[in-house]
Symmetry: C2
Subunit: 314 residues, 2 copies
């Protein structure tokens, strides 16, 4: 297989595009895909301050790298969740610090235990009905939004790539969760006071392309998945979707893009455009669907009971 | 595993219902499920004449058997498609004849070659752009509707079970084919002049339950799949869906039922209730979406070109 641009040996073959590229042209092609997504989905304009949520994994560090290469003023935010297994959170933080130091890039760290007194596993153990993963999602959403808002960033960017989005779409479709289906999007506007715009610039790229990008760019990232993600439903869905892609290259991308198109054309989800009523949380002020305390602030109530999220779950 | 009704050894365990049953109680339970579907989806009333499309396979013969056991005046219709491989169509016809003879049940046969001069494989070879499967679907839909209409039947029943419907739903969802999604239903009313009501009474039952029913009832059916179905996309989708069901019993049923529910509640497809404009075919009089000849009548035009179906594809 040869690079279609220069005829040198290809380092990657993207079957869904019938496209083989050498290292040099692949490192050009990936940022071009990201730029296309930023423009097409009106994610942000040049000069707008971007906060990148970085976990230390290949996707978010590659996203940060790409945005810097494209000239966007992208700063990082690492949330230390306090996951103790094999020093997972601390090792991840070191990867982020090293990445930022090599590039002289600005970044912030929020340590959940330092800031709120307990790690994610500790909160999950204390709250009945909360798994570590649901606690983690809630805490991250809250902190990401708060830091972006308080820091005056125009937009919060996350490293979700196409495989992540397709797995979520698949899960929501299997349950016909129409509320979630209505809100899943590459760009989520700041629809309520106190909520920042959220964007997924890697939406045109498959996970294996991001792994290849990190490898070819020499980005040193945490290889291990979070220890809590083992056996996660999402990983099972991804394996089913990979079988589909293997049989029919491009099937995952087509599933996602035809969903966006059918919804945009008004053939799907009549309520997609409808507003959810939101109120400011009486403690932290972030928008939440239920009056009173938001789900994040309820985490710190000492009754040990949690009746689930009521805040914006994007 | 024991039968939950009598404590005898169970012949089948239905994990999605957490239900084990012995042969006797399983043979009671299956028709009860069919009766529930007939009532819930308002398929037909006692006394209405039902035409059952029978292929000689386990699902359609079992459906016919069940409807007769439930006391419905169900007559069979076998369409001989002229598939020559291992005498597939003729062997299938013999199974249907034997089944009907054992029960003294009324049935009709339409031989496609005898009636129209060519077998399905011959038509497909003659028409560019037509596969045997698309030709077969078109011809069967036309003949089934015509015989039901001309014979004065109230309703046409087919042996589609839950696995069939889930595979079709999965395929339509992967492509977000909103037009097909809007029309897929257990009961399709006779929405236009010349179209009969179409129903799927096995909609509550998995394929493996139908196989078990045919086995326990001693129904002699054609085991082989149609020779053209090998490698069919539907079989691949069924294998993915079976992995899902294996990991989460009931997932297939839940995917289908939550789809029907979301659509019925108006959260999914704004156009589900909208009417498609239909015209009578200028030759055969059956309703079709395009003015002029319907897709079936165009099959017999000698230009060799076919631009696809325009008639109701249900």
């Amino acid at each position: 297989m040869k690079c279609v641009k220069c005829g040198q040996p290809a380092v990657i073959n993207m079957r869904q595009h019938r496209l083989g590229l050498c290292a040099e042209h692949f490192l050009e092609w990936v940022p071009a895909q990201v730029e296309r997504a930023i423009e097409k989905y009106e994610m942000f304009a040049p000069g707008e301050r971007v906060l990148v949520a970085v976990s230390g994994g290949k996707d978010s560090l590659s996203l940060w790298d790409i945005l810097l290469r494209l000239g966007y003023p992208a700063e990082g935010l690492y949330i230390n969740l306090g996951i103790p297994h094999l020093e997972y959170s601390n090792v991840s933080q070191q990867k982020v610090e090293q990445f930022a130091a090599e590039r002289g890039a600005a970044f912030r760290v929020v340590n959940v235990q330092g800031e709120y007194g307990q790690t994610i596993p500790e909160i999950a153990r204390r709250k009945r009905g909360r798994t570590p993963c649901s606690t983690c999602g809630l805490v991250k959403r809250h902190i990401l939004n708060q830091v972006a808002r308080d820091g005056g960033y125009a937009v919060l960017a996350t490293g979700h790539q196409l495989d992540d989005e397709v797995a979520v779409l698949f899960q929501n479709t299997l349950h016909w969760a129409t509320g979630y289906l209505a809100r899943q999007a590459p760009t989520l506007p700041a629809s309520h006071p106190g909520l920042v715009r959220k964007v997924k610039p890697l939406i045109r790229l498959y996970e294996r392309e991001m792994a290849a990008y990190a490898l070819v760019r020499g980005i040193d990232y945490v290889y291990e998945e979070c220890p809590y993600s083992r056996g996660a439903t999402t990983l099972f869905y991804k394996s089913l979707l990979n079988q589909l892609e293997e049989a029919s290259p491009g099937a995952k991308q087509s599933f996602y893009l035809s969903f966006l198109q059918a919804r945009a054309e008004g053939h799907l989800l009549p309520e997609a455009a409808s507003e959810v009523e939101m109120h400011p949380c009486s403690r932290c002020g972030q928008s939440t669907t239920a009056p009173g305390l938001c789900a994040f602030c309820r985490l710190w109530e000492m009754d040990g009971i949690d009746h689930g999220d009521t805040e914006n779950t994007e």
